[in-house]
């Protein structure tokens, strides 16, 4: 019985991690391929990364104050998939949208604040992705925990990346940043 529910729980988190793929797969099945698939891929991968990053940040508060102990094991898969979606997002931009045309990309990055914070967020997430295995966690000990606090600035940078990108309707990015703010503020409280 215990084994069955453990399997179910890992199935749920696995489904959560691939839910963006299922969702957008469904969108394409119903509406057909987008007319600007590159823009869609960019937006979809970015949305998925941010949502899963927020989900991974929600785990600790829910375990500590929500009493939902069993989801503690979800933090790693949620965080890893957030990092992978962010990596896909970056590769779509650099490799497909700009087809590795570095002069164009550089012209975009220089002085464009939403790209600067986006890249910052990606740079912070890469070492977390690399050290996300249990092996690295054991080898690094206490330093692993310190290193992985980088997810906090990475999340703020990702939220700002989204906020500074939109034209006028800031409802979604503002909501995202507010949730990130609350989730980080909760960590400042004593247990």
């Amino acid at each position: 019985m215990r084994a069955a529910s453990a399997t179910l729980r890992s199935l749920i988190v696995w489904l959560l991690c691939i839910s963006p793929l299922l969702w957008y797969g469904g969108v394409v099945a119903v509406r057909g391929l987008p007319l600007d698939p590159i823009a869609a891929l960019t937006a979809w991968s970015g949305d998925a990364a941010l949502v899963l990053l927020i989900a991974s940040l929600a785990v600790t508060p829910l375990v500590r104050w929500g009493g939902i102990k069993f989801i503690a094991a979800w933090r790693r898969p949620l965080g890893v998939s957030a990092g992978l979606y962010a990596l896909a997002h970056t590769l779509v931009y650099v490799g497909i949208d700009y087809a590795w045309a570095w002069s164009f990309i550089w012209a975009n990055i220089s002085a464009k604040r939403h790209l600067v914070v986006g890249i910052l967020s990606m740079i912070l997430l890469v070492p977390l992705l690399i050290t996300s295995t249990r092996g690295w966690q054991q080898r690094m000990g206490m330093r692993w925990k310190q290193l992985h606090t980088l997810v906090y600035p990475a999340a703020i940078a990702a939220g700002l990346h989204f906020l500074w990108l939109v034209k006028s309707d800031i409802r979604w990015p503002a909501t995202g940043l507010a949730v990130i703010g609350v989730l980080l503020a909760l960590r400042l409280r004593r247990r």
């Binding site: 509406r31 007319l35 600007d36 497909i96 045309a101 975009n108 464009k112 309707d169």
Partner: protein, 316 residues
């Protein structure tokens, strides 16, 4: 190849109504509920709705003068920046289905000798021609579109602008019941755009009434819209109802919304960045990678003389 009798082909207008037919029982049910709440004015007929073309008509060429292939019809009529209907470019087409454009009239007033209200039929009677134009959106994407329409100067010469007139102000229909996006509070509706009079009189400046050899679909700005190919796409205002000649520079919707991001001139210029992204490159929809953006969108030879002596960084 199997031959299809012409009688078996679904007329285009019927094809477009197929979803509406499916929705009828649902609407009827909803109508009962709505009536119970006192809303008795649910639309009962689609009389006058613009039939939406589902296929391209006759176009004389497959390329623009620089050799760029035309953007496919499905993309031109399915990927539209038109906040009056939706901020999702690929939802505009569905959101605009059933938008009624007849009757339609355009008031031309202000500093003119002969102010006049034109019916759509008056406009369609003006000599129409095909124009293949590149469209460069300020967001960094572009298309090549075969428009049909008449040059704006043909219309302006009929109303005779006075010597005092310096600018032309354009206004889109302002009716949130027909353009649901206008109930969004983020922008000051209606959409307003403007040109300097010499820009408006330039032969490239087009009032488009058709695309791909068909009447303009609602999502492309039916029944008529401005097309100024050397300026960013947002200058090319859609569903125009008023054209006013004036001596003061009009404030466009985008200038009001974000004055540091959108200027009055908005000439395509790879050397003047948008505050939030580079304008040096663009993605032609349907292509991988990016193209360099051309000064004045490739119409430099025709229009650069309009701006002689002007600092285009300052007057962006």
């Amino acid at each position: 190849m199997t031959s299809i009798l012409s009688s078996e082909i679904t007329p285009e207008q019927l094809f477009w109504q197929r979803r509406r037919l499916l929705a009828l029982p649902l609407l009827a049910g909803a109508g009962v509920l709505l009536n119970a709440c006192g809303a008795a004015d649910a639309p009962t007929s689609d009389a006058g709705a613009t039939p939406l073309p589902i296929s391209a008509g006759v176009v004389s060429t497959t390329k623009d003068e620089l050799g760029n292939p035309l953007t496919p019809f499905e993309t031109v009529t399915g990927y539209n920046n038109y906040y009056e209907f939706s901020t999702d470019k690929e939802r505009v087409k569905d959101a605009a289905t059933g938008f009624v454009t007849t009757p339609w009239s355009v008031v031309v007033d202000g500093m003119v000798a002969k102010p006049r209200t034109f019916g759509l039929e008056d406009m369609l009677a003006l000599e129409s021609a095909e124009r293949i134009y590149r469209l460069r959106c300020v967001e960094g994407w572009s298309m090549v579109i075969p428009w049909t329409g008449f040059p704006l100067h043909a219309l302006l010469s009929l109303v005779e602008p006075t010597a005092a007139a310096k600018y032309v102000r354009f206004e889109t229909l302002n009716d949130a019941t027909r353009m649901p996006g206008q109930s969004e509070p983020w922008y000051q509706w209606p959409y307003v755009e403007g040109l300097r009079l010499d820009e408006a009189m330039h032969d490239l400046t087009l009032m488009a009434t058709g695309v791909y050899g068909k009447p303009l679909p609602a999502q492309n700005g039916a029944p008529l819209r401005l097309v100024v190919p050397w300026k960013y796409g947002f200058k090319s205002i859609k569903a125009v109802v008023r054209i006013t000649l004036t001596d003061t520079q009009p404030t466009s919707l985008w200038m009001a919304a974000a004055p540091d991001e959108y200027g009055f001139f908005a000439n395509v210029n790879p050397r003047v960045d948008h505050p939030r992204w580079s304008q040096a490159d663009e993605r032609r929809i349907g292509e991988l990678g990016r193209r360099p953006t051309l000064p004045f969108n490739g119409y430099k030879d025709q229009v650069a003389s309009l701006y002689t002596g002007m600092d285009l960084r300052k007057f962006y």
